[in-house]
């Protein structure tokens, strides 16, 4: 099955292991990912400081227009921030004809146009609804054998549209993890915010948010936290040592992408699953024998 892939800036850098694992999973499941040509940044969560709302919409309209030039496949945006920016534009384009006309007026500056109709999908959406749990189970050759996982969705994975899962109590990642043979531990911070785009610049204020998430996962007995958002992964992982220092804690919690766990369960090796790129290494819990 063919999909457009919108990697986004993060997956080119700090979230490179997300992209690698998404590709590994796609390979195992026979999904054909076609990268949108010459895509641009979606604006992510700090767009508003330098740009206006309309400018951010224009960024996303351009990506939709670029995709449409290549065909009519659904677009997978693995990064949650990219996903909501893009899906918001896609929705508003369908619902607000005036805005749609404005967008085409703007797109015309770059000799582009967009006629609507493209669907923007999150990775979890495609995995849960297009692939399905049965097929995922079938593909598992290396079950996770009761690995204790805290399923952390964060914010923008499901909010605000709740397109494919509940905004208040999502379950798709839990189900996928269970299909891989993992044990999803009780975890009440699954949809709480990590600080997102302002974590880096507001660390004093946001460290307690990350601390609470790590704490709840630890209390629930999790060995790893699974996520599907590069921003969450980054805030929880690369700043973990900082947070420990600030809050006087000693968390040592690997933060992995759900796609990394899938790749591993589907028989890819540690490196193919890009698990070697995790800074808080999940090696000891994922490869106890190694």
């Amino acid at each position: 099955m063919d999909y457009f892939l919108y990697p986004g800036c993060s997956l080119e850098a700090g979230g490179s292991h997300y992209l690698a694992s998404v590709e590994a999973v796609a390979d195992a499941l026979g999904l054909n990912l076609i990268e949108i040509e010459d895509w641009n940044c979606c604006g992510a969560s700090l767009h508003y400081i330098g740009g206006t709302e309309l400018q951010t919409k224009a960024l996303n309209a351009r990506n939709l227009a670029m995709a449409q030039k290549q065909g009519g496949h659904d677009i997978i945006a693995p990064c949650s921030s990219c996903y909501i920016q893009m899906i918001q534009m896609a929705h508003e384009f369908e619902e607000e004809p005036e805005l749609a006309a404005e967008m085409n007026e703007i797109l015309a500056e770059a000799d582009l146009s967009y006629s609507g109709g493209l669907k923007v999908r999150h990775v979890l959406d495609v995995l849960f609804n297009d692939v399905g749990l049965d097929e995922i189970k079938e593909k598992v050759v290396n079950p996770l054998n009761g690995l204790k996982v805290a399923s952390y969705y964060g914010c923008q994975t499901t909010r605000p549209y709740g397109e494919y899962d509940s905004v208040e109590s999502p379950h798709t990642m839990d189900d996928i993890l269970e299909a891989l043979g993992a044990e999803v531990v009780p975890f009440d911070k699954g949809t709480k915010c990590c600080g997102s785009g302002i974590f880096f610049t507001e660390m004093e204020n946001c460290a307690p948010l990350v601390g609470a998430i790590l704490g709840a996962a630890t209390d629930g007995g999790a060995e790893v936290i699974s996520t599907a958002c590069p921003m969450c992964q980054m805030n929880l992982e690369i700043y973990q040592s900082r947070v420990n220092k600030m809050l006087h804690t000693e968390y040592d919690m690997p933060i992995v992408f759900v796609t990394q766990l899938m790749a591993l369960a589907f028989g890819k090796d540690f490196k193919q699953s890009a698990l070697d790129r995790n800074i808080v290494s999940p090696k000891s819990v994922l490869q106890p024998s190694a």
Binding site: S16, N40, H47, E53, S196, T201, L209
Partner: protein
């Protein structure tokens, strides 16, 4: 208890010039936004009360309040608002408007966000190495070196885990541009001109 008269000029300014500003008309002051905000404890007013202040015409209180740039964009308020007010969009709109008016609600985020947007405008993408580097240098090279050193462990870790491109310093080497950068710039200029409060 300062008694101050209701003044309609500021609310009209917000309706006209702030992105999504008209959304606040629909607020019924239930307070769900404030109570669900992850950073509620760090805020002076929170979204609900900011809307009240706008309606009352308290321009200084709102524009100089750092709350408007403390939004993490978690979307909880937007999802739970019974009136469907796009709380986040208004907060973003207010932050943008304050900066435009020369007010800096949160210094670090404002600076970082500016580099962030510049990267988009100049190259079409965010360079995750370039932007933090420029941000570190915001107070000059000396301060920048210290701040870079402070973040060095993280940078090194990212580099060694293939999650960051190597750079000697800002612009060395320069960030890659998308092919259609010219067209994108034209689009962004056009969009800016069409934005509320910016129409010629």
């Amino acid at each position: 208890m300062a008694t101050k008269a209701y003044d309609k000029s500021f609310r009209e300014e917000v309706y006209d010039k702030v992105d999504a500003g008209e959304e606040i008309k629909l607020c019924m002051q239930c307070g769900v936004c404030g109570i669900t905000c992850p950073l509620r404890d760090e805020m002076t007013y929170g979204p609900r009360q900011i809307w009240s202040l706008i309606r009352a015409g308290k321009r200084d209180e709102v524009m100089n309040c750092s709350d408007i740039m403390l939004c993490t964009s978690c979307y909880t308020c937007k999802v739970r608002c019974p009136r469907g007010v796009k709380v986040i969009d208004v907060m973003h709109g207010l932050a943008h408007y304050a900066l435009q008016e020369g007010i800096v609600p949160r210094e670090n985020t404002s600076k970082f966000g500016k580099f962030f947007w510049n990267s988009i405008y100049k190259t079409g993408r965010i360079d995750e190495t370039e932007v933090p580097m420029r941000y570190s240098m915001r107070r000059g090279p000396i301060h920048g070196i210290f701040e870079t050193l402070e973040m060095m462990d993280i940078g090194r870790a990212l580099l060694s885990h293939k999650r960051m491109h190597f750079k000697l310093g800002p612009g060395i080497p320069p960030s890659k541009k998308i092919k259609g950068i010219k067209g994108l710039k034209k689009m962004l200029d056009k969009a800016e001109a069409m934005s509320p409060g910016k129409e010629a």
